[in-house]
Symmetry: C2
């Protein structure tokens, strides 16, 4: 069995894997696809595969994605071949939950002003600091990460409203609505937090009318995918101060070009797609992959966290 | 009955109080002490009383302090006269809990770097973001605020160790130690958070040996009172990078002088004594004061949140 990693884990981690599976052949290559034709299993961050690569990988039966989003993968080519795809969803929930709460609390408790005044040695106490407690958050995409955000927000006394396609109950949500009910619910929300993946249902889900419906002091956070809202919509909403802040961790084009107008709007916070980062990331991804690999090698071909390539999540 | 406020609440709030207590005489004055000689009850932030004021206030029976710290009040003069003192402890817990978590998450999730890079339109993902989850916090002074900090930290999967004079159990602490056990416990803590009041027991409680005992990547937060540690000790600890960050909300001298070295150390965050600020502050203080005033007027002279002026808290 040949297992091709399209990235190179630390030497120590490579050794651990090789030792644990003495009968498998592991290849750890960055940007080198020479082993594609013989690979049975591919381990990737999901950003380096195209139709040609799938065609070359004629033995490929399982793609293990060390990420949560699969929108950069050639869906049709993979689905047509019946290749199993699974990911590491769930492992982002701790760092992302902490990042979301960090950004919210920073804005509520005036941290950007505090940091700025320190640069000028300025003792200034006239902030309009507010509180999370008693506010309402609307969470777009209450999956594993959204539920963790909901759990933490509830600990701070925040009311959570989950919003997904079906409106079916999700964890740590005081109330659930479906995408159809979103526009009508927005006026209640002090925070609108998206962790939605990019799918045909979520692309451009938010239009200008959604920002118009939000409270003027609402905070919008996009920690899902950049195409949830067209850039020109977001620019118009923020330039006209329809809401108080937008915190963006994801963008249509990444890296965000240096000349992009987002950088200089003082009511936008640019987080360069780092909210899921953690020193524990690879270790946690391996904790998902290795037990599944063990099962796969023993003939059990249904890894956890299966991705439906037709739906896109 | 004459009730003197040494600050001026909003007109609307004044009217509400007067309407609720039609038989009492209220005076709302800022820095005008002409009504001191006839006042039965004084409502103050606790920073505008000296021995002379207490001597003048010959009818005074109850001082209601709209703050938690009483260290700027003339303790002996008040104790000698047997004047009842009560405060609003507990109302700071929500804004302070949110501020403490906000600062911690901001540092763990690299927010100061994210903000700085945005100023330079710089897409930079090479942060060493870490997580709160799995870390250990040592909380000096696990009272109402400390317990709220403990509760929130536990929601993030942090182990909490409370430390007070007695070592007696406090809420939301996984473990308790007394001041005597502090030095030996410090090497376990990733965060050391003080919300201690200023008393004879807490003054200069931390010396250089305490910073030497902390982990090199520990975060120290002083959200209690500035005299917990001598400034020269803190400067030596931070200049020598004995720990990674100090977040200071309280100072020996406030406002912190413009030329103070604290301002320019890049491992110190200066929060200008604003962690307890909230738009709901006065409203919550009134929710403590008014029911107690009602009882007082009916002859029940034991308000909640009594302060022992001999102990100082």
């Amino acid at each position: 069995m040949e297992i091709l990693f399209t990235f190179v884990p630390k030497e120590e981690m490579q050794q651990q894997i090789i030792t644990e599976f003495p009968d498998a052949d592991f290849h750890f290559f960055y940007k080198d696809k020479s082993k594609l034709p013989t690979a049975d299993i591919l381990v990737t961050y999901g950003e380096d595969l195209d139709e040609e690569a799938i065609a070359q990988a004629q033995n490929l039966k399982w793609i293990m994605v060390f990420s949560a989003g699969v929108e950069k993968m050639p869906h049709e080519a993979i689905a047509a071949r019946g290749i199993t795809v699974s990911n590491v969803r769930g492992i982002h929930k701790t760092p992302m939950g902490e990042s979301v709460l960090g950004h919210l609390l920073a804005l509520k408790r005036s941290l950007p002003d505090i940091y700025k005044n320190q640069q000028n040695h300025k003792w200034e106490r006239q902030f309009r600091s507010t509180e999370l407690r008693g506010s309402t958050a609307l969470i777009l995409g209450p999956g594993a990460i959204g539920a963790e955000v909901g759990r933490l927000l509830q600990a701070f006394g925040v009311i959570t409203i989950g919003c997904n396609r079906s409106g079916n109950q999700a964890e740590y949500m005081n109330e659930m609505i479906s995408f159809d009910g979103l526009l009508a619910k927005l006026p209640e929300a002090d925070m609108v937090i998206s962790i939605l993946p990019s799918t045909s249902d979520t692309k451009y889900l938010l239009g200008l009318e959604h920002f118009q419906a939000m409270k003027q002091d609402a905070i919008f956070m996009n920690f899902g995918r950049g195409d949830l809202v067209k850039e020109e919509v977001l620019i118009e909403a923020m330039q006209n101060k329809m809401i108080s802040y937008a915190v963006l961790d994801v963008f249509v084009q990444e890296p965000l070009p240096e000349e992009h107008v987002f950088w200089s709007l003082d009511n936008i916070v640019i987080s360069p797609h780092v909210s899921g980062k953690s020193e524990k990331y690879l270790e946690r991804a391996m904790e998902i992959f290795l037990p599944n690999l063990k099962k796969w090698l023993s003939g059990e071909n249904e890894p956890t966290n299966l991705v439906n390539m037709e739906k896109g999540y």
